[in-house]
């Protein structure tokens, strides 16, 4: 009897041993697996990180795109268009949005020193900047100006809208908005106060060219905004306070348009003043039909595409165009829904 109970106890003891050993082995295996997995995870992450970078040999060309103080919406459109073509053409694009003209100049110099295959930049009339551009051209690095053009360089090509045409179109829209009668002001974006700033000059010329035909419309002010923060707001306040009876304001840049619209709202002049703007930023699209009468879209994406395309063409010596016109669109309350998508 005792023996049997003893053997039963033995059996229990054995089972207990097997169970506890089994559990411990499983725990050991599980902890080992977890430990091994967790030890590996960051490695995989970093591996993924390196994979996300493109490998060097795939690129035919390396282009530097140096833009100057562009708004996010324009830059996003421009860079997405550029990237689209770059990907197709085996081109690596380095985007730089310079904060000031010195930075832009420096980046042009870096692009030269780092032997970039091509430069896409804005045409800005600044002595140092133009020198750098010319040095690049001297080192046989092709330069394409985009959005704004500048005189005094041997730039290979300009890709942008027809500023004169835009001025004309804006004048027509303004006249229409104020029933061909009243006081009108111009806010012209300029990257430099220099007279060599072709784009803004063409804007003004185009606008004035049309306005000459309307006898009852008086251009009371033409102001050049600079790149400083809140520059457009200050100038808009100034104009309105000096000419309280003003009926319309035309802005040639996205930044200025948003600034001017803000002032109209602040001064409660919405409705009795027409704002003709430029750009397709989200805020502008919101204001179309109420604060803003119409806005001109520069087709930033198309501009980006054409810039890269023309630079590639220059590299392959198939381009002969000096100017590639990017047609602008007019955003009205009729078609604004297309842009909001």
């Amino acid at each position: 009897m005792q023996n049997r109970s003893q053997s039963g106890q033995n059996k229990k003891f054995n089972i207990l041993f097997i169970i506890s050993t089994g559990i411990l082995v499983v725990v050991l295996a599980v902890t080992f697996a977890i430990s091994a997995i967790y030890s590996k995870i960051p490695e995989e992450d970093s591996h993924k990180d390196t994979l996300s970078h493109e490998s060097p040999k795939d690129y035919k060309y390396h282009f530097s795109v140096i833009m100057y103080q562009l708004t996010d919406s324009f830059l996003t459109g421009f860079s997405s268009g550029a990237a689209e073509i770059a990907e197709k053409g085996d081109v690596f694009i380095e985007f730089i949005n310079a904060e000031d003209i010195e930075e832009a100049t420096k980046n042009i110099n870096i692009a030269i020193a780092s032997k970039a295959d091509g430069i896409i930049a804005q045409g800005i009339y600044d002595e140092e900047y133009i020198t750098a551009i010319n040095r690049a051209i001297g080192k046989e690095i092709p330069v394409v100006f985009a959005y704004t053009d500048a005189q005094g360089t041997d730039r290979n090509c300009f890709v942008g809208y027809n500023a004169f045409e835009l001025g004309k179109s804006a004048a027509k829209r303004t006249a229409e908005a104020i029933a061909e009668e009243g006081e009108v002001a111009l806010l012209v974006q300029s990257f430099t106060q220099h007279q060599h700033d072709i784009t803004s000059n063409l804007n003004i010329l185009g606008f004035m060219d049309v306005m000459e035909n309307y006898e009852n419309i008086e251009i009371v002010a033409i102001k050049k905004t600079n790149q400083e923060l809140l520059s457009a707001e200050d100038i808009t306040y100034e104009i309105i306070s000096r000419y309280p009876d003003i009926d319309a304001i035309f802005c040639t840049s996205e930044k200025d348009t948003i600034g001017a619209a803000q002032v109209l709202i602040d001064l409660n002049r919405v409705g009795d003043m027409a704002l003709i703007g430029t750009g397709a930023a989200r805020t502008i699209l919101e204001y179309i039909g109420n604060v803003i009468h119409v806005s001109f879209d520069m087709n930033a994406k198309e501009m980006g595409k054409k810039s890269v395309e023309s630079l590639i063409e220059i590299k392959e010596k198939t381009n002969s165009n000096d100017f590639i016109d990017i047609p602008f669109d007019i955003i009205t309350d009729q078609n604004v829904y297309k842009y909001k998508k």
């Binding site: 005792q2 023996n3 003893q6 053997s7 033995n10 003891f13 041993f17 506890s20 050993t21 411990l24 082995v25 725990v27 050991l28 902890t31 080992f32 977890i34 430990s35 967790y38 030890s39 995870i41 960051p42 490695e43 992450d45 970093s46 990180d49 390196t50 970078h53 493109e54 490998s55 060097p56 690129y59 390396h62 690596f92 380095e94 420096k106 110099n109 870096i110 020193a113 780092s114 032997k115």
Partner: protein, 512 residues
């Protein structure tokens, strides 16, 4: 088959080796894993800073090259030129290292830096050549270009460093998060492996020592002389099992041996006891024989003395005394004979007559005797001796002796077809039924004790002795009967079966 035997844990040594090695290997594995784990961690940390070290290298050589270039252009000292050449070469080497080590991680930026380095060396070399050719203007121009290029390189490297720091920070955060988890899990793993090792060692130790402890307990019990301990059961298949089996066998055989010794001793003791009993019996027998001899002295001596008395009385002419003594002698002679010698009825009657004559002397004429013998042939009939006399004696003493004015004893003998009937009657005090019953009861007992006869009255043989002898002789219980009425007398009837009498006659003759 062979390998299976080789590798099965059938010996203590293998078991111990296996369990300890298993525990050790497990611990070793865990600690090796921990060590690899931490070295991996260190390696990862190292790799985080590896690129920074290369960047630092590039910066150092760039600074040195630029400085020495400037000094050379200023002083035209060839030492500076040598240093410049050395550092610009090393700068290019660092650039190559950069390309080789980090080229896949950030191809464009590295390519850019390398291009910048190339530009730097080109323009600085041009500056050096121009300086040698004393073209100070060109030299200065190129130096300025080299200088600004150097600045660009520095800036690019700074950018890369910042980027690297950012990714490193993220990587480090992820790593440290994971490492915290790994650390916890590793802690569990260590504790687990320790417990597992302990359990394995404990289990094997227990499994190995348990049967040894059992064996030792059993051995202790046996050493105290207790062979009735339980069998030691061992489930393992090692030397201990062999030991336990041998131990059990040993215990069993010792127990059997002791049992055999015990039974032998027991039989010897029994034998001794028997012998002792025999000896005792012998002694008792001897004693009895001696006592018998002693008691035999009396009648013979008396008998002879009586004969001397008879002769004396004859000489003196005292006839009555002679007659009396002759009767006494006759009764004695008859009484001292062997009880298994059969006699005739006539002998019995004669003995009774002599006895009654004695009694007449003793009791006077108070006793009357009437003899009535119908068939004289019966007198030749054989029968056991001393049957009638005790009955008559009983009648005299208990029946008539207790009456004041005497009584009559009548003896009659007659024959029927099957029986010879002897009837002895007295008109004494009689007996009640119970007394008769008690007499027969006493006689039915197997062992009839030798009751000592009452002194003075009897010749020594009791009624129950008579009954028993009669029953044994004739092999029937219905051989004697008493009939008595209180105050009126007693009648004893002896029925002797005639056929049996003949048979017994033959038997007795045979035996005689």
């Amino acid at each position: 088959m062979d390998w299976k035997r080789k590798f099965s844990l059938n010996t203590i040594r293998k078991k111990m080796l296996f369990s300890f090695l298993l525990a050790m290997v497990m611990m070793g594995f865990v600690s090796a894993y921990m060590s690899i784990n931490s070295s991996n961690f260190l390696q990862k940390i190292d790799s985080m800073f590896y690129s920074s070290i290369i960047y630092q290298d590039v910066k150092l050589h760039l600074e040195q090259a630029e400085k020495n270039l400037a000094l050379y252009i200023q002083t035209k000292d060839s030492d500076y030129l040598n240093d410049y050449i050395l550092h610009s070469e090393m700068l290019e080497q660092s650039g190559q290292t950069l390309e080789k080590e980090l080229g896949t991680r950030n191809p464009f930026k590295i390519n850019k830096i390398n291009n910048l380095i190339e530009t730097f060396t080109e323009s600085s070399n041009r500056a050096v050549y121009a300086r040698r050719g004393r073209d100070i203007n060109t030299s200065r121009e190129n130096y300025v270009e080299a200088h600004s290029t150097a600045r660009y390189i520095m800036e690019e490297i700074e950018k890369l460093n910042l980027e690297q720091l950012e990714t490193n920070t993220q990587y480090y955060l992820a790593l440290s998060r994971n490492m915290a988890k790994v650390q916890k899990v590793n802690g569990i793993m260590i504790v687990d492996s320790i417990v597992l090792g302990a359990i394995i060692i404990l289990y094997i130790t227990y499994k190995m020592t348990d049967p040894i402890i059992k064996l030792s307990h059993s051995a202790e019990e046996i050493s105290k002389g207790n062979f009735e301990t339980e069998e030691v059961m061992v489930s393992s298949k090692d030397e201990i099992k062999v030991m336990a089996e041998a131990f059990n066998k040993m215990k069993e055989s010792i127990r059997n041996y002791i049992k055999a010794l015990h039974s032998k001793a027991e039989t010897e003791a029994k034998l001794m006891e028997k012998e002792m009993q025999n000896l005792k019996m012998q002694t008792l027998l001897n004693d009895a024989q001696l006592q018998a001899l002693q008691s035999q002295i009396n009648p013979h001596f008396l008998f002879n003395t009586l004969n001397a008395g008879v002769q004396l009385s004859m000489l003196e002419g005292a006839d009555k005394t002679t007659y009396f003594l002759e009767n006494i002698a006759a009764v004695f002679r008859y009484n001292v004979r062997e009880l298994d010698q059969k006699v005739t009825l006539k002998d019995e009657i004669n003995s009774v007559r002599a006895y009654l004559d004695l009694m007449k002397v003793r009791f006077g004429e108070d006793i009357k005797v009437i003899e009535k013998i119908e068939d004289s042939e019966m007198l030749d009939m054989h029968m056991p001796p001393l049957i009638l006399q005790p009955i008559v004696e009983n009648s005299c003493i208990h029946g008539i002796g207790e009456k004041e004015n005497g009584g009559t004893i009548s003896i009659s003998i007659r024959q029927t077809a099957e029986y010879g009937i002897i009837k002895i009657e007295d008109d004494g005090v009689g007996m009640d039924e119970e007394t008769i019953h008690a007499i027969f009861e006493e006689a039915s007992k197997q062992e009839v004790p030798f009751t000592k006869p009452k002194k003075g009255h009897t010749t020594g043989i009791g009624i129950n002795n008579v009954i028993q002898r009669l029953r044994l002789f004739y092999k029937t219980d219905d051989v004697i009967s008493f009939d008595s009425t209180k105050g009126e007398g007693t009648k004893a009837v002896i029925k002797i079966p005639l056929k049996l009498e003949e048979q017994s006659n033959v038997q007795i003759n045979h035996s005689g």
